[in-house]
Amino acid sequence: MHPNEHALHNPEFLWRNPDPKPSYDVVIVGGGLHGLSTAYHLARNHGIKRVAVVERGWLGNGNAVRNTTIIRSNYLRDESAALYEHCLKLWEVWTEELDYEILFSQRGVLTLNHNLHEVREGHRGMYSNQLNGVDSEWLDAQAVKEFCPIVNTSADLRYPVAGGTLQRRGGIARHDAVVFALARAADRLGVDLIQGCEVTGFDIQRGRVTGLVTTKGRIGAGKVGLVGAGRTPLLARMAGIEVPLQSAPLQALVSDIVEPMLPCVVSNALHVYVSQAHKGELVMGAGRDPYTSYAQRGSFHILEDQMAAALQVFPIFGRVHLLRTWAGIVDVTPDASPIVGITPVEELYLNCGWGTGGFKATPGSGWVFAHTIAHGAPHALNAAFSLDRFETGALIDEHGASVAVH
């Protein structure tokens, strides 16, 4: 495939640019991937005809275009594994369902382990995945080398590769194409995609939401779904709801385009994850910046550390160029799991807190959220991801097992 080829897959028509109608059955606030996915599923799965998405900027102008496009479902907790596995199964049919070449590629996600503690946790995740019906297997250092020959498995490394877990069904997709594909599919089902429309307030009558105040006027709404990622706390506060989110920069970068050499997605606890996009550029991410911020830029030392970590595992990357860096704002909950469900305001629903894992959840997030909005109650898959778990303490911890070593 030549580097522009996937741009040629873009269809002749994507979406209308309608003005808002006076009212809708459901208004989704936030035109990112999860908002678009929700609107699409509301129309597709639940037959709701009058649906709008209002977006303050342009569709996908958030983490949709700032992530590293990794897709996997090998989460540790049972609730997470069920939800993300549902997402992955939807990814597996989406190219056909959305009738769009989103370049979904199940090339495998390899998570390297470098010491005894990581090996133990790696195995724990693998066994948990297997029992949860999520594919996962262990590769020792030699098998790692065979699966991904450019990984440096030398025992002389500062932290030698001890092995890794592999989810073969994991992979990547082209994020921009997913935005286009979902928006087009939603538009085709009659969803109004209204860009440049910022929500400035809510109409709430006797504890029930009835409409939105926006920069394009008042929009009546039978139900409202908030899908604002890092801006959710600001939105929710307008409706009198406190959401326990902290927003922090998460940086990513791409290299210039090089010949194919990285056949899978690789990540490790040295704080680097990398894949090679179809076009040929390396797409790489690191840990999030350790402070709260809405500025879409991160700290330079994170990049320096990330490069050092990348070159430990992939010395061949030394001369490839850093081409572009950016930072998304990840919305992280206290247990690093999302919030998808009802709120104290009637007919106002919440979907946020996907943190560093939002892209891969796009299909299932919208699927369960649409169900929740349509039925006024969560689906079994997202029942545990309620807002009130921070009061009850029924947390779903996905910070990754503690990194303490004895």
Partner: protein, 944 residues
């Protein structure tokens, strides 16, 4: 193009051979790879990414969209290097690229370095503006760093025939360079590109240290050096970039920016035979004059403006050049290789075309201030109608944008503006030194720039009118995007891939924005352009990693006893950055044999280990007890001096955070240990609360992890081994009971001895000064030799503590485990508050079906069920199975002579007696849930 017999900034005495696609060519010192290729009549330097069209050098600098090459051989080969920035050297090996770069698996001998610098004034750009600024600030006494990407200062002055103070500009540059070199606080960094602008005036530079030298001359030198400069004031003198024009077949080899044609003449002595100049602004007239004076035939001068009234066009008319205003290029014609042969010319207003043969078409669509670094700081831009480009809005704090970067293109403006910016920056910092008069240059009155950017294809086919020359995106491509419904430039970018190439669409952005604005009938100023993001120029990964490679990636931390472990043949494990002895195999032993031997020595004789990696914090002050009572779940304040207590900490969410031993040395002084991995986090946790939550507490913390080396002497014979080594310390059970602490002398060393035990055996934990650790170790080994004293490692420790049901935080617990889950409910003081207590009162924390710590005994005593295996009640259930828990620690116990382990299962000890299964791909061994204490449940041995 042809090389002229003389002229240029070349060293004609140094002919250099280089290789291009396997052919050996030659150039001169002073050439770039791009100029050397042009000098060898290499018109086509690559193929375009989508359409495979031939492409040639189109610039002499940053604007380049085509000429990217693979440079170098072996492990040091570097892909996609901009040929206009590559200095030619003897033996340079370069290849054209078929779209993608190539990386080499061979070892790269290049070394990348990093330096840090502080500057009063950081000047980015070494053209006339930057030189004037650096000189003005430097003469004031300010510490100045000036960086320029070129091999020498001068910038645009190197490519043009300017006069400064009536003399050739080169003389002023030379004189200014000498003055700068004479100022001790000024650092001039040539070959250095500022590629990132960070908050608080951090500027990151990439210096090419030896990249321009023949390979043989590079030994001992870094390849490149990363500079991280923190500047009080930043002056951006980054100049402006010339913009191409969009018309059918505007991408042929032989089409070049107008300023580039002058650069190839003045710097590299290269000229075409017949040139057509096609421009929207006055500056391109310099190309007309200069190339004419060099003997080039001026075949046509096309000015898209209706009128050309500026100083330079007027001069051109006076000099007799025929200037066609309102005239444009409507297409180009190439030879069989696609190289330019002629252009089609017509009136913008319409009418017939004529063919004008030429071998160079010099185009200028105007100039765009180079504002990438400004935009990286989220600096604003504003549209300027007169210059038909985006100029900087307000500069970010402590920065100045000056000269062409600020839309002031006249040389005099640059010199005056640069000097004023330099003086102002120095004055703002309180410097008041020498002020020299401003140099002057006579600027021509500048006419308005035409807002023409695109010449419509006469036949309506816009599929060869390139907006993004690198990415092969055409007007037709943008039109298609708009037709699909996209409106925002960022969507257009993602639909068409405009601006995503190796040059980040530098020369395409404005034209792309204009295409969008035109296509949807919006004001261009509102449409805008996509913003600049770091890096301004691509830099290799290795530059950012710098010296953090190989063994220097992260420091290796070792204890003072490390040499002894090495001498004993220990096998080490990584515990964070520490190296810890895992076990000490004797000849013929594998790990399991060694571990059994080490465990039995602990249980039956005497053994010692190196516990120096444990975190240690000295807590002092009158409120220390109150402070620790708030941190630990259990009561610390009641501890008496000379006594120790096992302590447990929770996070705010009630989850177990860390455990360790708290010793009270004096009424107001405690000595706290942490797990090895949490030495840093616990210290930070304490400091955070002390500084932000309880600043009223009078407590002072000191991390003393690397002040104390610690060796537990363990086993029933420990007392006997230690006794001869201590002076005046009664080791008897009565005088020195379990959980007592004494300071004294051990083996002649000042020591602290504590009766704490993680193995369940009688143990004396001896701590001495870090640098005496090895002496202590040797003395204990020596004293124990009669008792067959045995060093044991972390693996044996893990078995021993598991036999006792002692948890390791982070192994047997995770980020969901409460103290009660871990079987440590007895450690929660009911009569005081502590961090995490409120969370523990939440309903979900009180449920009886939470996971709790239990022991497991596999049905088959010879089978060690792997750690991490999950437990279910029905091994035949279909997936997803009902998971009840998982195995956290699993070993063979030499004491009970069978496999055993710990697990976390729902319901915890309520399941004791139940049989569960651990399904894996190859079977589902059964285990019985038991109490987690397998050895000496009453603790008699420990207390002995």
């Amino acid at each position: 193009m042809k090389r002229r017999p003389s002229g240029g900034l070349l060293d004609r005495d140094r002919a250099l051979r280089f290789s291009w696609d396997g052919r050996t060519l030659s150039g001169f010192a002073g050439d770039t790879l791009a100029s050397a290729l042009l000098g060898n009549n290499v018109s086509t330097v690559g193929r375009s990414v989508a359409q495979g069209r031939p492409r040639g050098v189109m610039s002499a600098g940053l604007e380049e969209a085509h000429a990217f090459a693979q440079i170098g051989e072996g492990g040091a080969t570097e892909p996609l290097v901009r040929s206009t920035g590559v200095e030619l050297y003897e033996g340079l090996v370069a290849r054209s690229l078929s779209i993608r770069g190539v990386l080499s698996p061979e070892t790269d001998s290049g070394r990348f370095e990093k330096r840090y610098a502080h500057a009063d004034v950081m000047v980015v750009g070494g053209g006339p503006t930057g030189i004037a600024a650096a000189l003005a600030a430097g003469l004031q006494g300010a510490r100045v760093v000036i960086a320029d990407e070129g091999p020498e200062l001068g910038g645009a002055l190197l490519r043009d025939r300017y006069l400064i103070d009536g003399r050739p500009a080169a003389e002023w540059v030379r004189a200014a360079g000498l003055m700068l070199a004479g100022l001790p606080e000024v650092r001039v960094l040539p070959r250095t590109t500022a590629f990132a602008a960070l908050d608080q005036n951090g500027i990151v530079l990439a210096e090419r240290v030896s990249q321009h030298l023949p390979i043989a001359d590079r030994s001992g030198l870094a390849d490149r050096r990363l500079w991280r400069v923190r500047a009080k004031q930043v002056i951006l003198a980054t100049g402006a970039l010339e913009r191409p024009l969009v018309f059918p077949d505007n991408d042929r080899p032989g089409i070049m920016l107008a300023s580039a044609a002058r650069a190839y003449l003045h710097r590299f002595a290269l000229t075409p035979e017949r040139i057509v100049v096609f421009a929207t602004n006055d500056d391109a007239y310099r190309t007309v004059f200069d190339l004419h004076d060099a003997g080039v035939v001026i075949a046509a001068v096309l000015d898209a403006r209706d009128e050309a009234t500026g100083g330079l066009p007027r001069k051109a008319r006076q000099a007799g050049f025929e200037i066609e205003t309102g005239a444009v290029v409507t297409g180009t014609i190439g030879d069989q290789d696609g190289v330019l042969q002629a252009v089609r010319v017509a009136r913008l207003a319409g009418g017939g075309e004529r063919l004008v043969p030429c071998d160079l078409l010099a185009v200028s669509g105007g100039w765009d201030p180079n504002l990438n670094l400004h935009q990286q700081r989220r600096g604003a831009t504003r549209w300027d109608d007169r210059l038909a480009t985006f100029l900087p809005g307000a500069a970010v704090p402590m920065q100045t944008i000056v000269g062409a970067a600020n839309g002031r293109y006249g040389l005099n403006d640059c010199l005056v503006g640069g000097r004023e910016a330099g003086l102002a920056a120095a004055a703002a910092l309180g410097f008041a030194g020498t002020v020299v008069p401003a140099p002057s240059a006579g600027d021509e009155a500048e006419g308005e720039h035409a807002s023409v950017w695109h010449i419509t294809a006469p036949d309506g086919d816009e599929s060869r009118s390139f907006i993004d020359l690198h990415r092969d995106v055409t007007v037709a491509g943008v039109t298609r995007a708009l037709g699909a419904g996209v409106r925002h430039v960022e969507h257009v970018k993602r639909y068409t891939l405009i601006g995503t190439g190796v040059e980040q669409g530098r020369s395409a952005k404005v034209n792309a924005g204009r295409a969008v604005a035109g296509g949807i009938g919006l004001d261009f100023a509102q449409v805008g352009v996509s913003s600049g993001r770091p890096p301004a120029e691509p830099v290799p990964f290795a530059l950012l990693a710098a010296r953090s490679r190989g063994a220097l990636f992260e420091p290796v931390r070792t204890t003072p006893i490390h040499p002894a472990h090495v001498a004993l043949g220990a096998v080490f494990e990584d515990a964070g950055q520490w190296k810890r002895a895992r076990y000490y195999p004797r000849p013929g032993e594998g790990m399991s044999e060694a571990v059994v031997r080490e465990c039995l020595a602990v249980r039956n004789g005497v053994a010692l280990m190196d516990a120096s990696t444990l975190g240690k914090i000295d807590v002092q002050g009158p409120d220390s007890a109150k402070f620790l009572d708030r941190l630990y779940t259990n009561r610390i304040g009641t501890l008496k001096p000379g006594r120790a207590r096992y302590g447990l900490m929770c996070r705010l969410d009630g989850v177990v955070f860390d455990d360790g031993v708290v010793m009270r040395l004096e009424p107001n002084r405690f000595f706290v240990t942490t797990t090895t991995g949490n030495a840093g986090p616990v210290m930070e946790w304490m400091e955070q609360h002390l500084q932000t939550e309880w600043p009223d507490l009078r407590v002072w913390l000191t991390s003393v992890t690397e002040q104390w080396a610690t060796v537990p002497l363990v086993g029933p014979r420990a007392r006997e081994v230690l006794a001869p080594l201590v002076v005046g310390m009664d080791l008897s059970k009565e005088a020195f009971p379990f959980m007592a602490v004494k300071d004294g002398v051990v083996a002649g060393l000042p020591a602290r001895v504590a009766r704490v035990s993680f193995s369940g055996e009688l143990a004396f934990e001896v701590s001495v000064a870090w640098d005496q650790g090895l002496a202590l170790w040797d003395a204990l080994l020596d004293a124990g030799s009669a008792y067959a004293i045995t060093p044991y490692g972390t693996e044996a420790l893990d078995v021993l503590r598991t036999e006792k049901g002692y948890i390791i935080v982070g192994q047997d617990t995770d980020a969901t485990t409460t103290p009660a889950d871990a079987g440590l409910e007895w450690m929660i003081a009911q009569d005081k508050d502590f961090l995490g207590k409120r969370s523990l009162e939440r309903p979900a924390m009180q449920r009886t079906d939470r996971k709790g710590l239990v022991g497991i005994l596999p049905d088959d005593p010879g089978v060690v069920v792997p750690e991490g295996c999950h437990l279910v009640a029905d091994p035949n259930e279909a997936t997803p199975m009902t998971i009840l828990g998982h195995i956290t620690s699993s070993f063979v116990s030499p004491s009970i002579r069978r496999s055993f382990g710990l697990a976390m299962v729902t319901g915890g000890r309520a399941r004791v007696g139940q049989r569960l299964y651990a399904p894996m791909m190859n079977g589902a061994p059964a285990v019985t849930i038991v109490d987690p204490v397998f050895y000496d449940p009453k603790g008699a041995r420990r207390d002995g």
